[in-house]
C-alpha cells in the first residue's frame, strides 16, 4: 500500500490523525495534513483505508500495490 495526501484539499477535520496517528499528523500552523508514513505496515492498512473513506475532503488517496 502507498498513501498520498493532497494538502490543498485538506480541511483539517483531524479524523485521519485520530484513526491512524502513526500515518497522519497535522501542521502546527493550520492543521493541514502531514503524511508521516507513505508505506505503512500491513497492520495499519485497515485504519488507513478507513481514514481515506472518512476524510470529508477526499484528501487521502490509497494506492493498493500487489
Amino acid at each position: 500500500m502507498r498513501v498520498e495526501v493532497d494538502v490543498p484539499k485538506c480541511v483539517a477535520s483531524g479524523q485521519c490523525v485520530m484513526i491512524a496517528p502513526d500515518v497522519f499528523d497535522q501542521r502546527d500552523e493550520d492543521g493541514m495534513v502531514v503524511l508521516l508514513d507513505e508505506k505503512p505496515g500491513a497492520e495499519l492498512h485497515d485504519d488507513v483505508r478507513e481514514s481515506a473513506m472518512i476524510c470529508p475532503a477526499a484528501a487521502i488517496r490509497v494506492v493498493e500495490e500487489a
Binding site: 483539517a12 483531524g14 479524523q15 490523525v17 485520530m18 497535522q26 493550520d30 470529508p56 475532503a57
Partner: protein, 414 residues
Amino acid sequence: MTETLAETTPHSDEPIPAYPMPRASGCPFDPPPAAQALHDELPVAKVRMWDGSTPWLVTRYGDGRALLADPRVSSQSTLPGFPHPNAGFRENAERRRSFIAMDDPEHARIRRMVTAPFAIKRVEALRPSIQKITDELIDGMLAGPNSADLVSALALPLPSLVICTLLGVPYEDHEFFQEKSSLMINRYSSAEDMIGASDALTDYLDELIGVKLAEPADDMLSELATRVGSGELTRREAASMGVLLLIAGHETTANMIALGTVALLENPDQLAVLRETDDPKVVAKAVEELLRYLTIVHNGRGRVALEDIEVGDATIRAGDGIIIYTGTGNRDPELFPEPDRLDIGRDARRHMAFGFGVHQCLGQPLARVELQVVYGTLYRRIPTLRLATGAGQLPYKHDGLVYGVYELPVTWDA
C-alpha cells in the same frame, strides 16, 4: 388526454410535503416519519418551505454524502434558490457573510485562518482543563440539593466556558450571548429578532476585536485581530467569524450533552456500559454513536446547485435549492445495522452528524473531547442520575435549527 398526464413526473400527483417535518410524539430521538418515508420511497423529493419555495430534500446517506462533496453544489446563501430556514436568515445572508456561506477557494482561504486551534494535538492539550471544568460543575451539582437542571448546571456552561477561553470572550457575558444565540438559531424567530440578535452579537465581537487589537492575548480573537491589522480580513469579517465560532462552539455541544443524557437514561443498558468503564476507547465509540443516533443539526444542510446534477432518478437543475437531511442518512441500515437502536458498541464513525465535504464541522475535534469528558465522567460520578420527569414531558427543541432540550430536570440519590 391520458398521454399528457403520463408525461408528468412520478409522484407529481401527490402534494409537495411541507418542510421542516414534525417528529412523531413519543419518538423524540427518531427522524420525522415523513422524512423517513421519503428516505424509503422517494429519496430525492421536492419539499415546500415557509416562503413557498420548493428545494429538493435529499434523505439517503450516499446521495447526501456525494452532494456535500460535489463542487457543483454551492454553499453561497446569497444565490437565488438557496433554501433559507426563515426570513431572518434570508435577509441576513447579504448582511453578515461568514465562510460557511462561501465556496472554495474563498472559503478555504478564510477557514484556514481558524483551523490551527482545532488540530487534534491542540485540542488534546485542552483535555485536562475540560476535565477540570466538568469536575467543578459536577461538584457544584453535588453540593446542592439532589436535583438540578442539567442544561444550566452542566450542558451549557461547560462548552460555553471552553469556547470563551479559546476565543478570548469574557464568560461573565454569557447570559447576553446565550440569549442572542438562541434567537439566531430558532426556526420561528421573526426577521427583526434574528437580525437584531445577529447585529448585537456582531457589534459585541467587533468591540472585543478592538480590545484585542490594542491588547493582544493568547486567544483566537487576538489572532483574528492580527489578521485585521495586516489587512487579510476586515474588522467586520473578523467579528462575523467570532460570532460563528461562539455560537457553534457552545450551542451544539450543549445540546449533545443534554440530549445524549436523555437518550442514555432511556437506554439503561447502554448507560450502564459507560458508567462501568474507564476505557477511553469505549467512551470515544459511544460519542460517535450518540452523534449518529441524535444528529442534532436537524434542519438539514442547505445548498444550491450550480449545474444540472443527476441524483438517482431525479435531475436537480442548476439554480435549484437542495437540503441534505442527514438525520435519515445516519439511520441507513446498510451502514448501521438496526439503525434505530442506540448501540454504543457499534462502529458509527462514518456518520455525517458533522456534515461532509469541505464545510464539515471545524470544531469537531473539540466537540469530541468535550463529549468524551462529559459522557466519561457524569454517569460515573452520579451513578443514580435519573430524569425528574418523564422523557415524554421534556421541552424538546422542535423549534430549533439544532435539536436538543431546553431544560433537563434530573435527580439522584442524596
